[in-house]
Amino acid sequence: MLHTLVILVEDKPGVLNRIASLFRRRTYNIESLTVGHTDISGLSRMTITVEGTQDHIERLTAYLYKLVNVIQVEDLTNRKMVSRDLALIKVNTQTEKRTEIFQMVEVFRAKVVDVTTESLIIEITGTDEKINGFIEVMKPLGIIEMVRTGAVAMERGSDSLINLPESGFEKK
């Protein structure tokens, strides 16, 4: 099944390469990967979705912890979490389907962020399933180009995932 991993790493050159190289070397396939800063200085947060059995993911986690720059690895798959992906979709509006496109944007609570006489760029945020659903609907209406960020994820509830005192990091 698809697992959602949150990996906290030191913000140092080459760390993304180390993570990506580990997945390749151990023959895991990254479905999506996002990386960005956090509110803690020197700490970056990655969300990686990866296909594998529970056993595979446990091994992967152990390998990740062998990397000197990896601070914490959490598998959110079986926890209550919010997972969001963002897509920008450029569609052709030179057809009789223009109205239908606007209706679908309404239904999916997407946003139009660029308009020309021939095209629209639609921004949509949501779970993987929601975005996949929207893309299916848009396909027959004429997608010119699209881009997705990959998932970012956070556990629900008031606690922080990050074990701050143990990590040795401090808030910015």
Binding site: G14, N69, V70
Partner: protein, 571 residues
């Protein structure tokens, strides 16, 4: 005090207690070499190829327990080290590799002798660094040594740009505060409940077998290990790299397990009801087919690296941490047990096999590798250090050169690196100058790094070389014989006159073609003051038995033939 980056490199090596390093100079590391004259307390050894230098530092580390240090320049200097780095990585050897990089402004512009060395070595190092700022040299080298030797040891590479070597720090002072790395966890301690659980399994087992690996030696747990094994009388099977962790002559020591393990060892493992894996990683060469591996056995795994537990074999109890400390906790909880019945079962298996052994058969006038290695074992002292190359002679050495003492056997296990034998022996000799050092090599592997005979001559050291010369790449030939219809594609090998080759390097060369000659040659080599190369002309198409074919069950062995078929001697 004002110091250049190059001087800081040497200062750090001195502070780490390094007294011998192996390196090759070139354009980008010239500043380091220029500063070397100020540090006469460090002996620098010049190999004939960086790979040789890397293996020397590896052999040095394996017998001394210290961190081995090898240096190379940028580009080809660094890429020539790659095989040595991968060898050390697979066998968990504490090493620091210092390579030079082109000036930082030129990085990324395909400058002369520029290579992305940190990129290349990323999957074969425990960690690596690119240093472009002189201020970072000291903290990086300190981290490198700390990472290399802590937890599960391994090689760390530090790539230092030429401009960083040339720049100065005006008020340089060595920082000896405790290193803290936020994401690095070398120390684990198992829960007391898991220790108890392990002890309970041991106490209730009827047919336990210990699988002793390299971790026993790396963790210096030899005495704790012996105490444990003797208290509960658990038979001990060894991995190739585990040899020396437990004396070969000990009545509980069964010998080597796995692909070329004796049949009683593998059968005992397959019939065990409990396997105690101590500092080993269930490599495919020791398990055979995983589906049929020790199916009725519960498993306890003592291991320092969490990622090894449940990797190849699912275990019932995993004890992650320092093996010395864990065994000290487990042994008091284990009951005394004679295990007479189980040991009798194994002894019977053993008796049946020994009669087929070549060393127990009458002398036919032919020389077998087993004879050579058996004689060598008989003639040299227990503390003699033996290194091997990779192939048939390596397996014969594992079978016949009974290792009694810790850190006296040096061999490339995980990577199986041909060319390792001679340079690792040079490193071992430089680490233990008072010990007798032999390397057992094949005619193939020896020629991969034979240029290091020059290093022996330059260092004026005594390292004896036993070439098991069968005129073939023997192990590959054996596989061709067994599994490829005797299609000996590219395995017959013409070699130079090894006696003359030795003499060309100012060393002594000897040749032996019978058991009697072999004995004389070994004695002569021991007594000669300089290094001696012996060309042992052994039976050409001899094979290593028993053999578990790759992917077969561990007890499905090709056994020793009961009648020896010899090829006619060429007179």
């Amino acid at each position: 005090m004002k110091k250049s980056g190059a001087q800081i490199v040497w200062e750090c090596l001195v502070k780490e207690g390094i007294t011998t390093i192996f390196g090759y100079p070139g354009g980008a590391n010239l500043p380091i070499y220029d500063a070397m004259r100020d540090y006469p307390q460090i002996h620098h050894v010049l190999p004939r190829h960086e790979q040789g230098g890397g293996h020397m530092a590896d052999g040095y580390a394996r017998v001394s327990g210290k961190v081995g240090v090898a240096m190379g320049t940028s580009g080809p200097g660094a890429t020539n080290l790659v095989t040595a780095i991968a060898t050390a990585h697979m066998d968990s050897i504490p090493m620091v590799f210092i390579t030079a990089q082109v000036t930082s402004k030129l990085i990324g512009y395909d400058a002369f002798q520029e290579t992305d060395v940190t990129g290349i070595t990323l999957p074969i190092t425990k960690h690596n660094y690119l240093v472009t700022d002189v201020e970072d040299i000291m903290p990086t080298l300190r981290e490198a040594f700390y990472i290399a030797k802590s937890g599960r040891p391994g090689p760390v590479l530090v790539d230092i740009t030429k401009d960083a070597q040339q720049a100065f720090v005006s008020d340089w002072e060595y920082d000896d505060t405790q290193i803290v790395l936020k994401g690095y966890r070398p120390d684990f301690t198992p829960a007391a409940s898991s220790i108890q659980q392990a002890a309970d399994l041991i106490n209730s087992a009827k047919r336990p077998v210990i699988l002793a690996g390299h971790g026993v030696l790396m963790g210096n747990a030899m005495s704790e290990f012996k105490e444990f094994a003797e208290k509960n009388n658990v038979p001990v099977a060894m991995t190739l790299l585990g040899m020396g962790g437990f004396p070969a002559h000990h009545p509980l020591n069964l010998g080597m397990m796995g692909m070329h393990g004796e049949s009683w060892v593998n059968t005992a493992i397959q019939e065990a009801d409990l396997l105690l894996a101590f500092g080993m990683r269930f490599d495919d060469r020791v398990t055979g087919s995983l589906n049929s591996y020790a199916r009725n056995a519960k498993k306890i795994h003592i291991e320092i690296d969490p990622s090894e537990v449940n990797k190849n074999v699912r275990v019932d109890v995993g004890l992650i941490g320092n093996i010395k400390e864990i065994l000290a906790q487990v042994t008091p909880l284990v009951e005394k047990n004679e295990r007479a019945e189980w040991r009798k079962v194994i002894a019977d298996l053993k008796g049946e096999t020994a009669v087929r052994d070549i060393v127990n058969l009458p002398d036919s006038g032919h020389l077998y590798a087993a004879h050579v290695i058996n004689e060598l074992r008989r003639l040299v002292s227990r503390d003699t250090i033996i290194t091997t190359d990779v192939g048939q002679h390596q397996m014969w050495t594992a079978q016949y050169f009974k290792i009694e003492e810790a850190h006296t056997m040096v061999t490339s296990g995980g990577l199986g690196t041909m060319g390792f034998g001679l340079p690792s022996a040079i490193g071992a000799k430089l680490a233990k100058p008072d010990r007798e050092v032999w390397t057992v090599v094949g005619d193939g592997g020896f020629q991969m790094t034979a240029a290091e005979l020059s290093t022996i001559a330059q260092e004026k050291i005594k390292v004896n070389v036993a070439i098991i010369n069968n005129g073939f790449l023997g192990m590959v030939r054996q596989w061709q014989e067994f599994f490829y219809d005797k299609n000996y594609a590219s395995t017959p090998m013409i070699s130079p006159d090894f006696v003359k080759l030795a003499e060309a390097h100012g060393l002594k060369g000897l040749r032996a073609s019978t058991r009697a000659e072999a004995q004389v040659a070994i004695q002569e080599a021991r007594e000669y003051p300089g290094s001696v190369v012996i060309d042992f002309r052994v039976e050409q198409e001899d094979s290593v038995y028993p053999m578990v074919p790759a992917g077969a069950a561990l007890n499905e062995m090709i056994r020793r033939p009961s009648v020896i078929v010899e090829t006619p001697q060429d007179e």
